[in-house]
Symmetry: C2
């Protein structure tokens, strides 16, 4: 993420979504604008007074930030579809409508993941030919890159045809936005052999072989951190569990270090010395350095982040959205889905 093209990208930021909203949202937006001056326009959607207050706190008075008032907030405990239906003046719904109406190019939210998904699907809409959008979540791997779990939980109980769509969308995303050449796709399974697994995995394998995706075959749980493939394909039930387990690795390490540091003074000194090395070595394993995860298959760009995202996380989400827009992602996805449907239906 070290360059952005010259075109201005308009970001509709759900400023009330995260756990520390609107503070982190405002600070993140200002950080993004400082990093790429003149290339971003951020519309902060939410409580006008609170947002203005935060903007004053950080001393921002430029013209690249605009406030769009919204009186309601979708909380983490709201039922997604109910919230979208009933809270018409929520920051999330208003932000999604900005994208729908062409007033913004991208929706960025650290709010209720399910609600961001529902808002994206039902307000912004799906790309023609996509029956189920997918969350493509980057997990750091040993090859100093990322393995994308797709679907990381947009839907559960998907069918083989959906997984082929997930693979097409995610491969195209990696190719167009991150320049990954011919991204490889592995199917998460309990063994490498094709005979292993479920009826579901066998059917998916058969179907995916008809596409011209770069299909590697089965991969196992260890291949995510190992980086065997670019895309680790699975149903959202499985993907969500794996994503959350992978994300809990750093908190687990921190707790273990803390516990060990408490055992003796020497242990405390050792852990003190170790900490900064570990932090640097695991820099890209920190989700906040990545930002969020795209919801692919939407007729617009949606980036979903953790509720707990710090300002840096929000900044990176905005930059992710901008990069996707600069790559003309939505049109590339449309072409890829059309092409895949032609392939699988003609063969």
């Amino acid at each position: 993420m070290n360059s952005l093209k010259n075109s201005l990208v308009r970001i509709a930021l759900d400023a009330m979504g995260g756990d520390f909203a609107p503070r982190n949202e405002v600070q993140g937006a200002v950080m993004a604008l400082k990093e790429f001056p003149g290339k971003l326009h951020v519309i902060l959607v939410g409580d006008k007074n609170k947002i203005s207050g935060e903007l004053k706190n950080v001393g921002y008075n430029g013209s690249d930030i605009e406030i769009k008032h919204a009186s309601e907030v979708v909380t983490m405990h709201d039922s997604p579809s109910k919230a979208i239906k009933e809270k018409k003046d929520s920051s999330l719904v208003v932000a999604a409508n900005l994208v729908k109406n062409g007033e913004a190019d991208s929706l960025v939210s650290a709010g209720n993941t399910g609600a961001v998904g529902v808002a994206s699907i039902f307000i912004i809409g799906r790309i023609k030919g996509v029956s189920r959008p997918t969350i493509a979540a980057p997990i750091p791997n040993e090859k100093s890159g990322f393995t994308y779990i797709s679907d990381a939980g947009a839907f559960v109980d998907s069918k083989p045809q959906h997984l082929v769509e997930f693979a097409t969308l995610t491969s195209t995303y990696l190719k167009e936005v991150y320049g990954v050449e011919n991204p490889s796709v592995g199917l998460l399974n309990v063994g490498e052999e094709e005979s292993k697994g479920l009826k579901f995995t066998k059917e998916t394998t058969e179907l995916i072989k008809k596409t011209d995706l770069n299909f590697y075959g089965n991969i196992e749980g260890r291949d995510i951190f190992k980086g065997t493939v670019d895309v680790a394909l699975c149903d959202g039930f499985v993907g969500n569990l794996l994503l959350k387990q992978a994300e809990s690795m750093l908190p687990f390490l921190k707790t273990k270090f803390k516990q060990f540091a408490e055992t003796s003074l020497w242990a405390k000194i050792q852990i003190g010395l170790a900490k900064s090395a570990v932090k640097k070595a695991l820099y890209d394993a920190d989700v906040d350095n990545i930002g969020g995860t795209p919801l692919l298959g939407i007729n617009g760009i949606t980036i979903i982040g953790h509720g707990s995202s710090p300002a840096k996380g929000i900044k990176n989400m905005i930059l992710q959205a901008a990069k996707a827009y600069n790559a003309d992602l939505v049109n590339k996805l449309k072409e890829a889905i059309e092409h895949e449907h032609e392939r699988t239906q003609s063969s």
Copy 2:
């Protein structure tokens, strides 16, 4: 694992199973005997010449080790059921028969996991009332204990009734062998709310509520490392993926450290200092310090280990088996399954 009762435990050790067999198996057996002299009798099953050679190498000449010759070996690439049917004189099949015939109390193998499962189920047999045995795999957690993923891959595509059996078997194992009082059971799902997930998870929840298991409700992927519950319940397809991902955390860290150490001399020094602290802090996250995983529901004690197990890992597998035998595990499991069936059928 710091005490063993006085009764002698007879271990049938598949001495040809692991990747470094029979060397690590022989060394592991000798280590276990040294730790608990007079309490263990290990039958090393496999190639007599090779095993004798290794015994000579370590200078063991006591009477607590016996060699039982077997001329064949089940390899990691063998199809499990085919191997058990055709390789009648393999170390695994011969070892399983020792348990079946009452000449040994426990089967320990670091060989082909699938084949150890098939040998256990079809040679030693299942406990009456158990339709599917389960692999209960310990994952270290923040509470300085372990979260047991059950089923970690004995079967795929299990039904809700099977999961209730897995929960019963694993809870009983933790209570009887490790003294965990009233073990808590969580159902792995994509959210905490009961409405979340699959038809399968909803049906499992309904069924498990009829038992008197200590059911916590839904847990998420992050709860495994967090240690929210003692037993993380799931189908073996999901459990196998989560187990292998959890196990790949340490190799991932090692690679990341190595990569960072190569960036500068100062980084190298930092990582050097950090390494021993990390190793100590993560001592119990090392699978070899645990040993293996029990296959529960078998009419005997089966401990399955990693092919790559070092001698220490083999030693810990033997001690796990002995501890389970000392706790009269099989009879306790029989009682628990009977009790659970009465509960779920009468209500």
